[in-house]
């Protein structure tokens, strides 16, 4: 690595850049996080001053809790939305980057869902997915589907309907970051490829996709994290129902903490959630050498 030479000269400079941010993170995130880690070993209930150390009871309870396994499964289905939104957003960003008129308007339209507040959105999805007379099922019937799914009215399909909403929601976020990334791709590179006679498909997947791989890496990791952490949308649409079928881990944490006030147990579930995301991220981090090109 011949380039390293110039970077190494001033070792302290790096800290100077990182330090201001790090101090804030330490105070506002790491400290509270350590506190919540400690809560894992207590039966602390918010608003109840009496509590005691319970050792590993919370963990034992977690692994014997059916609701936990259910919500784990639902989280798995929920995560399907991440790669779906990613690939879709890449394609949309490509198209909206060059090959259309009204770029500003179209970008705005696709980004709008992401900057909305959840409540209005929740209601309208309910109406769109309404099983007996909602437009989505009307369309399916028109296309010849005899008995379309009940969507939010059916515990078997509700989670997949949530996935659709989540893709719709995250699309704009992914798209706008991809758009920013595409600005770093120089016109010369593309021109050269085109002169070589590469097809659109080749240019897309052989040239552009690798070029934006650091962004894809970013979006994959942040997408997984944000999706695993998010619960507001589900809370607004289904409150985790019907019959618990859309209760994902983070919503389970939310209910345990805010509805039941069992902070100790909620901390335990969250740290498990944390461990899951951390493991996934670590794998990606190690695996990035294979496909992320800086």
């Amino acid at each position: 690595m011949k380039r390293r030479g110039w970077v190494q000269r001033q070792g302290w400079v790096g800290y100077a850049f990182v330090l201001p941010n790090m101090l804030g993170i330490l105070i506002f995130l790491i400290l509270p996080a350590l506190f919540s880690f400690g809560l894992m070993f207590t039966d602390y209930q918010f608003s109840n001053p009496r509590w005691s150390f319970t050792g590993l009871d919370n963990l034992r309870r977690l692994f014997g809790d059916d609701n936990f396994y259910d919500s784990l499964k639902h989280t798995g289905i929920f995560l399907l939305s991440v790669p779906a939104a990613l690939v879709l957003a890449f394609l949309v960003a490509l198209v909206l980057n060059r090959s259309v008129y009204l770029k500003g308007l179209l970008r705005g339209m696709f980004f709008l869902p992401y900057i909305s507040s959840g409540v209005a959105v929740a209601f309208v999805w309910m109406l769109l997915f309404q099983p007996s007379h909602g437009p989505i099922n009307e369309a399916l019937r028109w296309l010849g589907v005899v008995s379309p799914p009940g969507w939010f009215a059916d515990s078997g399909s509700a989670m997949y309907a949530i996935d659709v909403v989540q893709v719709w929601f995250m699309l704009g976020y992914n798209m706008i970051i991809y758009l920013a990334a595409l600005q770093e791709v120089s016109a010369e590179q593309l021109e050269a490829a085109r002169i070589d006679g590469a097809s659109t498909r080749t240019i897309t997947w052989r040239i552009l996709w690798p070029l934006v791989s650091p962004t894809t890496f970013l979006l994959l990791i942040t997408g997984l994290i944000m999706t695993m952490k998010s619960f507001a949308l589900i809370q607004a649409i289904t409150q985790g129902g019907p019959s618990g079928s859309t209760t994902i881990l983070s919503l389970f944490v939310y209910k345990t903490a805010f509805s039941y006030y069992e902070m100790g147990y909620a901390s335990t579930i969250s740290w498990f959630l944390f461990a899951c995301i951390f493991a996934i991220t670590l794998i990606q981090w190690i695996g990035q050498k294979r496909w992320v090109h800086y």
Binding site: W6, I25, I27, P32, S99, M109, A120, E184, R194, M263
Partner: protein, 273 residues
């Protein structure tokens, strides 16, 4: 990729417009509902006759949204500005300088992003009380200024800036700070604008933190104001949708301002790939 002839551009535009229309159905519904009467909500998609009373109500009635607007603006603007600067600094540190434990530290950073916010509400509450910022806007602004996502995102983009550019400046005797301010920041404008838009939207829509850490109605932000429409056993949907439609306007303005920088990008002559 095809710079495009009319022939290929026009049909694609039409297709994307249709898809885009689908994306904004909820907003059309929101606006439509805000113009309906209470008895029409959820029963029809369009108002029988435009009723502007809900829109008037949110600016002149019991729940005047102007103070909520100003509070939200204050928090989101200061928070985003702070996050933008501090994240860019740290991102440069992680992307373009080398120091002991850099990668490990970055992983710690990333991992902190994974903590579900619900469980740190209580410790944060205790902390804010101790810092005397509970029930002040600082309880929202200060934490918002330290964004892990911002560091991660900008780092990824800074790493994408060709090393040749910064290296030659370095050889000309420029220090890291000069390179950061004069070279990297201007080059990363699309990324900075993107982060600003996203971060602003998070703070603009932040409900949970505002709910727990702000107590005095005078300090309330828009998402808290929207709660006024949740009545005891039902919801005033007309008012809520009128307020929600109005609340989205500043976000659209920010987006329109920001996306200019995204489009501009790095002019191809400045960068040799």
């Amino acid at each position: 990729m095809n710079e495009g002839t009319m022939k290929s551009k026009l049909p694609i535009t039409v297709v994307m417009l249709v898809a885009g229309a689908f994306m904004i159905v909820p907003f059309l519904w929101m606006i439509s509902t805000s113009l309906q009467t209470p008895a029409e909500v959820f029963k029809q998609w369009l108002p029988s006759k435009l009723d502007w009373s809900s829109h008037r109500r949110i600016w002149t009635g019991n729940y005047n949204f102007l103070p909520y607007y100003l509070n939200s603006l204050k928090i989101a603007v200061i928070g985003t500005a702070g996050a933008l600067f501090l994240s860019a600094l740290a991102a440069y540190g992680f992307a373009r300088t080398e120091f002991k434990g850099r990668n490990a530290m970055f992983l710690v950073y990333l991992s902190m992003m994974m903590i579900p916010p619900q469980v740190i509400f209580v410790p944060k509450f205790i902390l804010f009380n101790w810092l005397h910022i509970y029930n002040t806007h600082w309880a929202l602004i200060l934490p918002a200024m330290f964004s892990i996502f911002g560091v991660f995102m900008l780092r990824q983009f800074f790493m994408g800036i060709p090393r040749e550019i910064t290296e030659s400046a370095f050889l000309d005797g420029a220090g890291h700070f000069t390179i950061f301010f004069r070279l990297v920041l201007p080059l990363a404008k699309p990324a900075l604008a993107t982060f600003a838009i996203i971060d602003f939207s998070w703070q603009w829509n932040d409900y949970e933190n505002a709910l727990v850490f702000l107590q005095s109605p005078k300090l309330y932000t828009i998402p808290l104001g929207l709660q006024n429409f949740i009545l005891e056993n039902n919801v005033d949907y007309n008012g809520m949708m009128a307020a929600s439609s109005a609340a989205i306007i500043p976000m659209i303005v920010i987006f329109l301002l920001g996306q200019k920088y995204i489009i501009q990008g790095i002019s191809s002559s400045a960068v040799k790939g």
